[in-house]
Amino acid sequence: MSGAGTIAAPGGIETLPDKQRVFILSLVFMGLAHLTLLKQYVKGALFALCELVFICFLPAIVGKISDLITLGTPTPELLITQRDNSVFMLIDGIMILAVIAVFAALYYISARSAKNECRAIYANGKFPPKRSAVQTLTGSAFPVAALTPAFILIVFFVIVPLIFSACVAFTNYSSPDHIPPSNTVDWVGLDNFVFMFGGDNIWSGALFRVTIWTVIWAALATFTCYFGGMAMAVVMRDSKLKVTGLFRAIFILPYAVPAAISLMVWRNLLNGSFGTINQTLMQLGLIKDAIPWLSDPLLAQVMVIIINLWAGFPYFMLLVTGAMTAVPNDCYEAASIDGASKWQVFRHVTLPQVLYQTAPLIIMSFTHNINNFGAIWFLTAGYPAVSDSTLTSARGTDILVSWIYNLTVISLKYNYAAVLAVMIFVALAPFAIMNFRRTKSFKEGAI
């Protein structure tokens, strides 16, 4: 650091790069400032290579973008294989947009890097020695290389599909008239939203019905499992029975058996016409006619929540058991000295402490249940049908995500499915952001 402030370096006089020119050159062409003024040849060459590759592909990129805008023109006179495939155009266009975004980010990174290098040179009063330049490169190569697999996976299998879904919400991609490759798809603006939220009465009615049921389902599923699990945990802790351990082992079973299997078993046991439960009740003489457990819309909804409690309480039982061990023993001792009853101890010591510790998990569980496709699919598959089911493909116990599945797989109304996906996104994003702001690293300003 002794050389700071002096311009003369041992090897002779070096002129420091002009800040203004570094800035302008770094904006004119990626890596240009690194190559000419900052003497960082490897880094500069890599940046420049990125830009060259990008420029070579520019014509193709422009073509794909224009396809994205038009989504192809209908050409009924051609063979089906030769017609414009709007879906491929849409997806290629989105991938190209992702590539452009990455390129823009690189550009920004290179300009920033030039600025930082320049500042470092001024601070030291000289160019860094060769060796340290190579070291910086290998140093920064590690994080880039390490993040690449995750980055590629997430961009192509998570972000592009989600953006595709969001885009489809603004097109008429649906059966029967707009399914590529025989027909093209067009942008229709907000038509689908207008249609779903206030157009056709049957569709809007179904949307309203399914949304309400999704919220009720998620709230009740979370609530019952949480408090069911907590009750079991508390009772078992206070229990002086010698066989408590055996019971605990039994109670964990629903968590251990894969939910898909146990739900499919319940679905058979509860079957209205040949299910074991109805047969048992009839042979015992308790009922005369079969109870339509899963074929009456309201009863099916109740059963979905009850069976979910069966499958879900062990998880929270284990969790609350864990959380209770973290409650300091002093609290219990103080309470017992004050002569608190069992209920008072639970109400004023255990409950607040456990709630405080597990609150984030309750929120997570709620958002998970909003999207809990499996819990519905394996038990009822969304059935029973209700009056609008033939048209909308939304059945009595369908939640929004299983309706999306039906719309996509059965009735091929991709545009409406996409509207629902956008709706879920808008409704759930605040939860995610709230969770993010709560995290320690965010609060401490570490990121």
Partner: protein
């Protein structure tokens, strides 16, 4: 007075015992019928006597599964997919989490933020696009296509999970190693990974279990019956058209047993990391 207390105590004990027994019976009820179904002659659940084992005993369903159905294939496929998904998840999530936890770089905050928002979506919301992308890279009806989908779908959440854990590992440890001349990869491999073992074990379990019971993506990606996975195969036994409960039960029993054993063993550890992962943040 003392006698009264004793009575109350006995009464409470009996009450508790009755309560536990009722719940235990409810919990066991469907599981008993899996075992019963697996060994009962006949096909449909309708033909089964409601009293366990009253309609006889047979091993035919297991013979059927292994000789006349694709069950062994389904099992091998699922195992293969689960193992590779698990290995890939461990690597991708841990190394990315390490970078997010230890490096400062441009766009770090927006990237973390988007990971968090992305993880709230079940991957099948983008199903059509995933289908088309797999079609274009030749990944349809292949196992690696399915593995890529699983790997990508859970990565955002897993990176967060592991990053939160790694944030709690003191930075002085890796700084000391860096000063001693260890490379970034060496620090990651020999310092961070061993300390982060609890969360990695948790990740191993969750990412290994996932593929066993997923239905949507295998259904979308895999066409040939011999390529399919267990969930798909077992589900095909008990659809609306096909009521083959006994064979289903036999197949289900064979998967459920290792899972039960495994979860009973790892139960304690799972709870600690389960709670720790979310509570810690």
């Amino acid at each position: 007075m003392v006698v009264g207390n004793k009575w109350v105590k006995t009464f409470n004990t009996v009450l508790l015992l009755v309560f536990f027994t009722i719940i235990a019976l409810t919990v066991l009820y469907p599981l008993v019928y899996v075992v019963v179904g697996a060994f009962t002659p006949g096909n449909s659940i309708a033909g089964m006597d409601v009293i366990p084992f009253a309609s006889g005993f047979t091993l035919d369903h297991f013979v059927y599964l292994f000789t006349r159905s694709e069950y062994p294939h389904w099992f091998a496929n699922t195992l293969f997919i689960a193992v590779l998904t698990c290995a890939g998840t461990l690597f991708v999530a841990s190394i990315s989490a390490y970078v997010f936890s230890r490096f400062r770089f441009t766009f770090k905050k927006p990237m973390l933020m988007s990971l968090l928002i992305l993880q709230i979506f079940p991957s099948f919301v983008g199903m059509i696009a995933i289908y088309v992308i797999l079609y274009r890279i030749g990944g349809l009806n292949t196992h690696w296509g399915l593995i890529l989908v699983y790997l990508a779908g859970n990565t955002p959440y897993n990176i967060w999970l592991v990053k939160s854990y790694m944030d709690s590992i003191p930075k002085s440890l890796d700084e000391a190693a860096r000063i001693d001349g260890a490379s970034h990869f060496k620090v990651y491999r020999s310092i961070i990974l061993p300390i982060a073992k609890p969360i990695l074990v948790f990740l191993t379990i969750t990412s290994f279990v996932g593929p066993w019971m997923d239905y949507i993506f295998p259904k979308m990606v895999l066409r040939d019956p011999s390529m399919q996975t267990l969930a798909l195969g077992l589900f095909s036994f008990v659809t609306e058209r096909n009521n083959d409960f006994t064979n289903f039960a036999a197949g289900a029993l064979l998967i459920a047993i290792p899972f039960v054993i495994f979860f009973t063993i790892t139960q304690k550890m799972l709870v600690t990391s389960l709670g720790g992962a979310a509570v810690k943040e």
